[in-house]
Amino acid sequence: MRKNEMLAMLLAGGQGSRLGVLTRKVAKPAVSFGGRYRIIDFPLSNCINSGVNTVGVLTQYQPLRLNQHIGIGIPWDLDRKNGGVTILAPHVKGGGDSGEWFMGTANAIYQNIDYIDNNNPEYVLILSGDHIYKMDYSDMLREHKETGAAATIAVLEVTMEEASRFGIMNTNPDGSIYEFEEKPANPKSNLASMGIYIFTWDRLRDALIEDNEIHPDSDFGKHIIPKMLDEGQKLQSYRFQGYWKDVGTIESYWESNMELIRTLPEFNLYESRWKVYTNSDHQPPAFTGVEAKVSEALISDGCEIYGEVTRSILGDEVYVGEGAIVRDSIIMGKTVIGAGAVIERCIIDERCVVGEGVQMGIGENIPNERKPGIYDSGITVLGDHTTIPANVKIGKNCVAYGKTVESDYPNGVLVSGKSIVKEGK
């Protein structure tokens, strides 16, 4: 049987509900990032750059855009005769008449034991599709083999203040883990789990099967890691140094995008040594008009800019009309900003149409009425395929979704903290 040293299982089924309307129709890993990328491009590119060429992508929540994006894996060279990328969705199992959702991170792997067995790996790499980073998994595997651990967990040093927001690994001087604490109130260490694990497959396989008996919602952090520690198995930490970002909230999403436009960003997309690959159907040149003003910005292929763009990130084929002003904003692919519109501190999802003369992001900073926990950083967000009629004014922390019309805006205004969500096509 063909042997495969390490295969990757990429958990891409999460909604990412704190990203609000951005993940209404798509799973978080399929959300755009850095202009032309989607979040999942980062772990997928890490895989192929690390020589991991068999990847199972586990999907569950709103998988359509993710499936279209990944396809048969051509952009990442994952269209292969042996291995390659496989989308693993929840399905009806033989012997039963109903299917089962993935109930937890480890349960999702448990339900795909057959896929892993078919590929016959020695090690399994568990990844999540939520993070922005570049990492050589082959170096982590080398350490895993050297220490002979049953599991190796990638950890990142965070500040002690941040530590209580993460799963924290308490380690011995040799890097082995003696305790795992999920979001501890009084953290003993500042080594946060990055949600990246390498398991020796037969060890993980046993643990998954045993734990499934007790926990139908089996989770790596809550169940599998503590179980293996209790059993006295050797768990090793792998120190990662470099840029790693969980873009979990509207504000952190906005900030980590904005970090890319610094003259010397901490996260460098422009080095050829560790390329990030993505699926873009065609790559025409961008055009900046004679009257255009663009500075401190990332402009993707096929954009047409006739107005002003400052401190902003534009996805593929965005159109910015004459006299329009876009500042401190993220505009995703194929969106049209009408002439004379003024957009400040907004996130506008793919394929939106913002009418001429619209003003967005003005007025007082009042948290969103319906979802104050999600929209409170002053950023106004438009979901994908949203239409904004000409000349209306929209405040801060607003949300609009769907084909909105003039009558949705009393006196032509959507004041700060208000939402319009139009259902249907």
Binding site: G35, Q283, V294, V309
Partner: protein, 370 residues
């Protein structure tokens, strides 16, 4: 699939395109920030439903092969069909460079013999245009023509083209190559539709008799014996093979919306090899106007009315105007570049200037460091 494609990309345009084609085929010349010349004809073929295409190349063929390493970008990677790149080869009996366009097809005649499609679309690889060949094929079938030649009514420069004379029915009754005094303004665009079996018959008879040139020995020669018809093409068409000025102008044409749009904003699009560069980055001090820009480029200075390819770096205080800057070229701080064509991987050191004129743009060849 009704037709197969043959792209003639073997031409030696050395004299006319100077240093730009010293190490590359004309069909591999970079166009409009993101493309190579051959992308246009390959995309036209694919978009017209032609799934099997042969590229005949000999002059500096490496540059073209580099670009055509995979056929997937143009969707030719199919079990039925595919993209074939043919260069001259040595057999046990013969070793021949292609002696002409007809000879290059004849030397690869097994490609025609092994195909079963009824028609062949023959075209050159160094013109920039967008056409639906299936319309040409339809007219070819309806008119009952033996050969259909695509032409365009041109305003000027008729002396650079083959000029066709047609009767009222559209049948070609005269063809003059690069005439001093053109009788009509119908210029042949070097695109032909012919049935596969007729093409095989003509070449197997003609080439052994020393008839190596497709236009001279087959189109002109047979105008009375074969039914040769014209098909009028009305869109944008530009060839880059006639010289550096033509290459410069073709690129600059893409700064015009009406030229650019059909290729990049109207489906079906022109496809090219995926490069996976990050978005272009505009730093503080960037001021880019009236220009087209490829991905992965970083701007710190001023750019006006220029064609900027991928992974270009423009330093602080630099100014680039009316120029073509190819992939991977670095322009240092404070440089002034005007009316220049900087080939790939050129380095202009801080403070240096490169200045040409509209009539004589300066060309810096690949890898030049100044």
């Amino acid at each position: 699939m009704k037709a197969i494609g043959v792209i003639l990309a073997g031409g030696n345009n050395k004299g006319r395109l100077g240093q730009l084609t010293e190490n590359r085929a004309a069909a591999a010349l970079p166009i409009a920030s993101s493309y190579r010349a051959i992308d246009f004809v390959l995309s036209n073929m694919s978009n017209s439903g032609i799934g099997k295409v042969a590229v005949l190349t000999q002059y500096n063929s490496r540059s073209l092969r580099d670009h055509l390493t995979s056929s997937k970008w143009w969707d030719f990677g199919r079990k039925q069909g595919g993209l074939f790149v043919f260069t001259p080869y040595i057999s046990s009996t013969e070793s021949n460079w292609f002696r002409g366009t007809a000879d290059s097809i004849y030397q690869n005649i097994s490609y025609l013999l092994r195909s079963t499609e009824e028609y062949v679309v023959v075209t050159s690889g160094d013109a920039i245009y967008k056409i639906d060949y299936s319309k040409v094929i339809n007219q070819h079938v309806e008119s009952g023509a033996d050969i259909t030649v695509v032409y365009k009514k041109m305003e000027d420069n008729l002396r650079n083209f083959g000029i066709m004379e047609m009767n009222e029915a559209g049948r070609m009754i005269g063809f003059e190559e690069k005439p001093e005094q053109a009788k009509t303004n119908c210029a042949s665009l070097g695109m032909y539709v012919i049935s596969r079996t007729l093409l095989i018959d003509l070449l197997t008879q003609g080439v052994p008799e020393g008839k190596y040139d497709w236009v001279g020995d087959y189109i002109c020669e047979n105008k009375d014996t074969l039914q040769i018809y014209g098909y009028e093409f009305e869109g944008y068409w530009s060839t880059i093979s006639t010289g550096i000025i033509a290459y410069y102008k073709t690129n600059m044409d893409f700064l015009k919306k009406e030229v650019r749009n059909p290729f990049i904003n109207e489906y079906p699009y022109i496809e090219t090899k995926a490069k996976d560069e990050p978005p272009a980055k505009y730093n503080v001090g960037a001021d880019v106007r009236g220009s087209i820009v490829g991905s992965g480029t970083i701007f710190n200075g001023v750019v006006e009315s220029s064609v900027i390819f991928r992974k270009v770096f423009v330093g602080e205080g630099a100014s680039v105007k009316h120029s073509i800057i190819m992939e991977g070229t670095t322009i240092g701080k404070g440089c002034k570049i005007e009316y220049a064509i900087l080939d790939k991987d050129v380095v202009v050191s801080d403070g240096k200037d490169v200045i040409g004129t509209l009539d004589y743009p300066v060309v810096l060849k690949k890898g030049t460091v100044i």
